[in-house]
């Protein structure tokens, strides 16, 4: 029994850190790349503040293609690209590449939906005051949509926790790898249950945090 607990204490903290590392970095990358795409989707649409139908269609198509890949397939399909970026397709850092790529189109849609919730009248008021498109994006669209964006990021993070566990099955690190190698392949039920509990608690905490922040910054 002591051995089992010792093993858990050896494995789980590191796996937890690895999971958080993968999720955190890929969320960050996805936000950096996905946010501009989401903004472009909103401002370039018909009747948007910088209408550009063909650009809108190109972005939308790319996002849709990205979103049509099931994560398990995307992960193996882009192994050459992952090798090119990180030098290997194995390990925690390598998993960040497919995770980011899967999250970018997701973030783009999440941001698009949040920005679309901003009252058109407020945008018009800013235009009437002589604001440039960039000023409207930075000072009106994004700040006004912030509560929705926070909830969208929460959704993305929780999604990525699920994906990261999947990455653990094919050479990624984190809780998914432990659950697979010890819980599944070696029939270590306590470890299996512990990883599940950890994942459940993690998801609950992130959702709670997201809701709390969104509520605090919503001034409606």
């Amino acid at each position: 029994m002591n051995d089992a607990i010792k093993l858990m204490m050896d494995l789980l903290p590191i796996a937890m850190v690895e999971t958080l590392y993968m999720v955190f970095v890929s969320t960050l990358v996805a936000l950096i790349v996905g946010t501009p795409i989401g903004v472009i989707l909103v401002i370039s649409e018909k009747g948007g503040i910088q209408e550009h139908i063909s650009l809108n269609q190109i972005c939308s198509t790319i996002v849709n293609i990205g979103r049509s890949f099931p994560f398990s397939i995307l992960m193996v399909a882009i192994i050459p690209f992952t090798r090119f970026i990180v030098g290997t397709s194995l390990g925690t850092t390598a998993a960040i590449v497919p995770l980011s790529i899967a999250a970018i189109p997701f973030v783009a849609r999440v941001i698009e939906n949040a920005l679309k919730e901003v009252d058109k009248g407020i945008i018009e008021a800013a235009q009437a005051m002589g604001a440039t498109t960039l000023q409207i994006i930075i000072k009106v669209l994004i700040p006004e949509a912030m509560p929705g964006i926070v909830l969208g990021i929460t959704l993305t993070v929780i999604n990525l926790i699920g994906y990261s566990a999947m990455a653990g099955l094919v050479g990624g690190g984190g809780l998914g790898k432990i659950a697979d190698q010890y819980g599944y392949k070696r029939y270590n039920t306590p470890i299996m249950i512990s990883t599940i509990i950890l994942l459940v608690v993690l998801v609950q905490m992130i959702q709670w945090l997201g809701n709390t922040i969104a509520k605090a910054i919503n001034k409606k």
Partner: protein, 335 residues
Amino acid sequence: MIRIENISKEFTTQKEAFSAVKNVSIHIKKGDIFGIIGLSGAGKSTLVRCINRLEEPSNGHIYIDGQDITACTDTQLREMRKKIGMIFQHFHLLNRRTVEENIAFPLEISNIRHKDERITELLHLVELEDKRNSYPSQLSGGQKQRVGIARALANKPSVLLCDEATSALDPKTTKSILELLKKINRELGVTMIVITHEMEVIKQICNKVAVMEGGSVVEQGSVIEVFTNPSHPVTKQFVQSVSHDLPKSFITQNTNQKLVRISYQSERVDKPLLSKAIRKFDVDANILLGGIDHLNNHIIGNLIVEFSGEKENIQGAIHYLEENNVICERIEYNE
């Protein structure tokens, strides 16, 4: 100041083209409070939105201080917009900014430093000093519109466009907002264009008015002219909506009587015209209803009088009144 020349605006949907504004020309002088009244769908809102090009006019020109805004490049347009304030029916404040930050917004856009001083000044003007750090959701409708007004005035515009600015407010709040607008017009000399569907608004603050229907201006002039002598049916409707009127059941059939609405301005009240007419033409006058309206320091009297007597005598009396610049409008008896 503002010259709207032959402005038209067409909207094309996939099926058909719809012209919201048809060939409208209006000249607005500096310091005017120019009202544009019309029912919903009359095109008044589209017209005012053409002035700062929130709506691109399909045809025509708009000159603001001599500069043609319809011919501006995007950069020039943005600069001109900073000098054209606008307030809206639903206020359109930034929900996640405090009152202070909302007023700071146009100043940020214009890269103005020392914003605090200007904000304090504006808060004092709209009497909201105590709400400086409140969020819009914590304010009443009237207070929100005051923030809207302060925000619109931040860059010291020469023109203020008011698009149904009081339509979402209760009558008491409407009155206080209109008084504030009037004060701003008087003290800062800001020219105003006021879009409304309520004659009451025109009556309270405007000096000029244009009446719109079906995209065209059907009547325009000074408010007093239009008020005392409306010619178009729509205008008459609007004027009646704020003047005292006789219940329909009062109007009964009688050939020896004639029902007349008499309107007169303050300059004519020194002569006892009505009693003179009665004596001169041997008719009886029964005053059924009377009221006095204030319009921009002018007083307009309104009477509904039932004349009875010989037909020719009644005609004569009415004619006499008309000769003395009293406006008489016959009210037809119900069939």
